[in-house]
């Protein structure tokens, strides 16, 4: 098979480039999800706590999500006066997308909690902050983490766009393939690594989910 020998040969020659692209992709794809996740918790709390914030905040996140990613990445340096080649432009753009997804799921997760349980917690003598971390948040986690899975996979796949504005990541392997007259090896390598990265990230979240929400997998038993 000529294709596989091409693939191996390409890897041997461009070993360090591929690794670097993978490392950049990890940074560009995953850092935004982490930031978005952390930010979505207080925002989700606000949406649930102050009902009037729900419509404006969730509408805003839907609107942000509809902005084409390439446009957003190109506009950010203008707004924040960052260098046009700064990878953080992509990180910020993907954080906005991640946030747009996660604020909604965090709010949904927090409002899905049985109010009777929250009431019981209050009646036990929980103060509000401790109660939120000890009762509300854990009970919202199944929904919140499902949202995180979607946001992570979306972010990792969207990170390829960075290559179009000259920033690293696995997307660079695609553009390289096109530049070489649709030469398959870098395209295939980029595609496989990008998908593998999304799958592994998803798997990690599933494992974390299993570990931190054991009560969701129970059936009533004797």
């Amino acid at each position: 098979m000529e294709f596989f020998s091409d693939l191996v040969e390409y890897l041997e020659i461009n070993y360090s480039t591929v690794l670097e692209a993978l490392r950049d992709h990890l940074y560009i794809g995953l850092v935004p999800v982490v930031i978005a996740f952390v930010l979505s918790l207080p925002l989700g709390f606000l949406v649930v706590r102050y009902g009037w914030l729900r419509v404006p905040l969730l509408t805003l996140s839907s609107v942000l999500y509809t902005i084409p990613s390439l446009a957003l990445i190109l506009v950010i340096p203008g707004i924040l006066s960052t260098n046009i080649l700064d990878p953080n432009n992509v990180v910020i753009a993907l954080t906005i997308y991640g946030l747009a997804l996660l604020v909604r799921t965090t709010a949904d997760g927090l409002s899905s909690i049985d109010p009777l349980i929250v009431q019981a917690a209050t009646a036990m003598g929980y103060k509000p902050v401790r109660r939120w971390f000890a009762v509300d948040l854990p009970l919202a986690l199944p929904v919140v983490l499902s949202g995180l899975r979607v946001a992570t996979v979306a972010s990792v796949s969207m990170a390829s766009i960075a290559a179009l504005v000259g920033i690293g990541g696995l997307g660079q392997l695609f553009t390289r393939g096109f530049q070489l007259g649709f030469y398959p090896p870098p395209i295939v390598i980029g595609l496989v690594l990008s998908v593998a990265l999304a799958v592994v990230a998803d798997l990690v979240i599933v494992l974390v989910q299993r570990a931190v929400t054991p009560w969701t997998r129970l059936r009533q038993g004797a």
Partner: protein
């Protein structure tokens, strides 16, 4: 002692949930707040641990206004049992029970050890301790709910419809067990229910609320049945209240006739140990006694036996089961009539329904 002193609660939408409530809830007893929905019973309960603050008036526990305490600290000192248990689904049974002690600063290990002891006390098998609430039956969950409320050994316990989410057979078990536990613990318990039968069964005192948040009557259950104040309470207490009230008196003061008395032509046949065999007479076949009672049984049982007896007489036995007397239903009826007359006279009530 929990005192409601002219307590009013008006909600922002203008509805009055509790209307000038004055009520003193005694220590070491079960006080049941009962009434139709929207009568303010749950609001009243929740004002005790400041889940709701009154619009005006004051609530005091042992003389101390609850408004003076930090709500969280106040609540840690008051057990709370909620409808359908309200357990934390993400925590194991033992961690649910250990919640309040851990909040109050007890080391986790110690709190868990105490929680395991409590589970035994409410009749749960130790292997259930490490399960999650979803793995338990409704009745077991409710027991965990009670254990959780008891964990910090609070002197006061509030229970909001604690037995309403379980089926009738389990409910009966839980109620019996609850009364047994209260017999050991002697907590000051305030319970809310919409079920008058539950109120009468469990309460040492029953507060009947009418729509609009007014207290209609506050009395021990036997008095509530024998002497309801006004149409609302008698309507709410329901049918058969005379008969149901018989559960609250024992047969100890009931006069008996000798066991060999011939009643309506029938004579009680005894075996060599003095146990009842049945009623003989007219050379016909022997008729059943339908059971016996002891002096500690309720008047309800005696009345039931007298009605069922072919001789119209209930058979009393001593502790070892030997027959020591007969009671005809005419005697039961006369005994009850005298008792009711005394009760109404002692409360000084007339037919206008004004309370004396």
């Amino acid at each position: 002692m929990i005192e409601f002193d002219d307590v009013v609660k008006t909600f922002p939408d203008g509805t009055t949930a509790v209307d000038h409530l004055d009520l003193t809830i005694p220590d070491g007893a079960i006080t049941v707040l009962v009434g139709p929905s929207g009568c303010g019973k749950t609001t009243s309960l929740r004002m005790i641990n400041r889940m709701i603050d009154p619009t005006s008036g004051q609530i005091r526990i042992d003389g101390k206004p609850v408004g003076d305490s930090d709500p969280a600290d106040l609540r840690r000192g008051i057990g709370y049992v909620i409808q359908a248990a309200g357990l934390f689904p993400h925590r194991t049974v033992v961690d649910n029970v250990a919640t309040v002690p851990i909040l109050a600063g007890t080391p986790k290990k110690k709190a868990r050890a105490q929680a395991r002891e409590l589970l035994d006390r409410v009749g749960l098998r130790p292997e259930l301790a490490d399960r999650y609430p979803a793995q338990l039956s409704g009745g077991q969950q409710q027991r965990v709910g009670v254990a959780r409320a008891l964990a910090a050994d609070p002197p006061v316990m509030l229970m909001d419809e604690p037995f309403s989410a379980v089926d009738p057979v389990v409910r009966d078990d839980l109620q019996q067990e609850f009364l047994r536990l209260q017999g050991e613990l002697g907590k000051t318990i305030v319970m809310v229910t919409h079920d008058i039968d539950e109120a009468i069964k469990l309460g040492d005192h029953v507060a009947v609320f009418a729509e609009g948040g007014k207290l209609a009557q506050f009395a021990p259950p036997d008095q509530l049945l024998a002497d309801p104040t006004g149409d609302f309470v008698s309507g709410f207490v329901g049918r058969d209240r005379g008969y149901r009230g018989l559960s609250f008196t024992t047969a100890e003061h009931l006069p008996v006739e000798p066991a060999d008395t011939v009643v309506e032509g029938l004579r009680l046949a005894l075996d060599s140990d003095g146990r009842a065999l049945g009623w003989d007479g007219d050379g016909q076949s022997r008729l059943p006694t339908e059971g016996t009672f002891t002096a500690t049984d309720t008047m309800r049982r005696v009345t039931d036996l007298a009605i069922l007896s072919p001789a119209g007489a209930a058979v009393r036995v001593d502790g070892s089961g030997r027959v020591d007397g007969l009671v005809r239903h005419a005697v039961v009826a006369e005994h009850l009539r005298t008792r009711q007359l005394e009760r109404l006279r002692s409360h000084g009530r007339s037919t206008t329904g004004a309370e004396g």
